[in-house]
Symmetry: C2
Subunit: 412 residues, 2 copies
């Protein structure tokens, strides 16, 4: 890896400020309004939910980025998702952008929006509008961490990261923050992720890089197979690193894309690990397919199997469920080539079960559930389905009683 | 409906006998070997798992039916799935068929096989072979119910049905039995269903009817989104009703297909209701799509949503999750046309939430969880997404603590 981890989250790159405040949108009194602000126009790329039921803020961002792929600011509220809120919800989105534009003295077109919270609830606009001047005043070059906290709903931990590396003879930095997968208050379910970068890069390349990075990160995690109405990933690049502009594919572009992928994967893994009721992270590595796409598809199918997830929670080295899940991914392969390992323990080869130390395998699962967040709490499942060169990784978490408990509680 | 329900299960149609015995394949000592026998050659149609990892018996049936779509007998064992058992498992399948063929004095090609149980375990062949003479001797014209019991694994109830109706001036009968969705001993997960019929119908029509019936029944149920290595649906028609042969589409063929669909739907609903840990049946009716296929797709996506299933378990009328699940089905629709009802209570219209009696809605869910099996224990969710003429139904069950408990227990 060419980069090293630094502190600061989304404000680590030069020319970015951020803030998070309690505007009064959440009943809990916890921070609920976040701002990411670039000192200059940043090029902006976005990836959004594929759902047919999309929040007003998602529609708003899609329209803005289609007209002009650049932005100065991202405003994100938690508490209300502003999804399935009809015309009124759309007007709230416009009003939010206009209010922030006025406070920043910039054009409303330079603002992107995101929301997370209860579906079908309108944003508490009085509180949001009243909070905006305070939010703008709070925006600071070290505000990344407070912004990351203000977009949490029922996440147990806030999720942010920053990396830096040399590009030519200058330092380029990238920061990211995300939320997702907590759900104590039913109806909440959203993945939001924001990446900042001070590299200079062309709009087209940046959007392509983000799409590919999303395919290898956020599109490869699963907690419960349910897709939110509000899923949003936005990446800003403002050029403030003064590194040479990257305008075509090549070694420099590859380095930047690798860094972007690393940031997205870190955030994606953080979300999977913080899945509702989860006791560990599950990483599924698949190889042997003709292309990477097919390997990713099988990996995600395995990571999403309820039966496998429950077995991991029960520390049960139940390899039959891994074979079952691989088989149903819709990717053709010869079952006589199937091989499965759990950590270092091989469970299956040539499509047939191997004798293995069941107690050691169970202890491996037990150790993961007692491990340290994102460090030693990972269950590694390796699957090979043939001789192809394709590889892919997916991440998920186990299925525990708490998942049911969290999601069965009354809204009322 | 043209038909009425009668007793007898798979032996209700003329010319069928059946038996179920304890051969000693299961440690529990419960019945574990079943036989369905037609007095004469019956045409046979089959629908099998789409998984890339398929049990030996599935491969065996696919090959047999490809060569000659007829059969005299179906042999089904529970206890071991004979999946992921390699060459040895294939030899076990051949030996099972040969043994039964010898006892019945018919060709091995006239026998179809099915297995359910632990993946990766070979069938206890000594016990099976020793049991076959006893099984053949026990085959009786009233043996449908004992056969239905012998294919259970951890099902809480056995599942069988029989219908009869007039076709021309003669009575035609159809019977069915199925198992699925119980899973106390991990690694077990199989849907098996067998239909018998004494109508005379052409092979081509019968296979077409079965494919369409499966699409409206077994392919529309979901318990946990996991597809078994052994899923098998076989339908036999032996002509013993002496009704005129149905050899082309028309009113008679439509009547028979409607009856076949009814049998398949009854069995499919029985399996969904008996899903692991389930407290109720969830029926999702979708309308307003361009074609039926799209409606079925949305219905199944909603019935399979973990979040919705957990909400139903918690008696939480959480309509946002229904909208979310509809949106992620991969079927395009205008979210402003979305309407959602729970029983008689309308929750959402024109893509926006309605005010509704939350207590009444919660009580509706509560009543279902206390209702009688397959009678008053159904939660009805109706969704409309537009003005098209397509309709579709799917069935599922709620997600409870017991689902996690059942599947987190140790195999060892």
């Amino acid at each position: 890896m060419d980069w090293q981890e630094i502190s600061g989250g989304v404000t680590a790159p030069r020319g970015f400020r951020a803030a998070g405040i309690t505007a009064g949108l959440k009943a809990s009194g916890l921070p609920d309004l976040a701002l990411i602000l670039s000192d200059v126009d940043a090029i902006a790329a976005g990836v959004f939910t594929t759902s047919q039921v999309r929040a007003a803020c998602v529609e708003y961002c899609r329209q803005q980025l289609a007209v002009k792929p650049s932005a100065r600011a991202i405003l994100c509220n938690s508490g209300q998702a502003n999804a399935a809120t009809g015309e009124g919800g759309w007007e709230d989105a416009i009003a939010s952008a206009n209010s922030l534009a006025g406070a920043l003295n910039i054009a409303p077109e330079a603002i992107l929006l995101a929301s997370t919270g209860v579906i079908g609830q309108r944003i508490k606009m009085d509180a949001l509008i009243a909070g905006i001047p305070r939010l703008v005043a709070a925006a600071a070059p070290d505000g990344g961490d407070t912004a990351a906290k203000a977009i949490m709903t029922t996440d147990l931990v806030s999720k942010s990261i920053a990396l830096e590396m040399m590009l030519g003879d200058r330092v380029v930095r990238m920061g990211g923050m995300a939320k997702g997968s907590g759900m104590i208050h039913p109806n909440m379910a959203t993945l939001l992720a924001f990446v900042t970068c001070d590299a200079a890069v062309s709009t087209t390349l940046w959007q392509q890089m983000l799409g590919r990075a999303a395919d290898k990160s956020f599109n490869q995690i699963t907690v419960d197979g349910d897709t939110s109405t509000n899923d949003t990933l936005i990446a800003l690049a403002n050029g403030e690193s003064r590194t040479p502009a990257i305008v075509q594919p090549g070694a420099e572009a590859d380095k930047l894309e690798a860094m972007l992928t690393a940031v997205c994967q870190y955030l994606a893994k953080s979300i999977a690990r913080d899945g509702e009721g989860a006791t560990c992270l599950i990483e599924v590595q698949v190889s042997g397919t003709p292309t990477d796409r097919e390997a990713r598809q099988i990996a995600r199918e395995i990571a999403g199997s309820s039966l496998l997830k429950a077995a991991v929670f029960g520390h049960d080295p139940n390899w039959g469920r891994i074979a079952m899940a691989a088989g149903k991914a819709g990717v053709p392969f010869d079952q006589n080539n199937l091989a499965v390992s759990l950590g270092e323990i091989q469970l299956m080869a040539n499509g047939q079960p191997l004798a293995f130390d069941r107690v050691a395998a169970s202890n491996y699962l037990k150790a993961a559930s007692q491990g340290e967040y994102l460090k030693t709490d990972t269950v590694l499942i390796s699957v090979s389905v043939g001789n192809g060169h394709g590889t892919g990784i997916a991440w998920g978490c186990d299925l525990s009683y708490d998942y049911v408990k969290i999601n069965a509680e009354y809204t009322t």
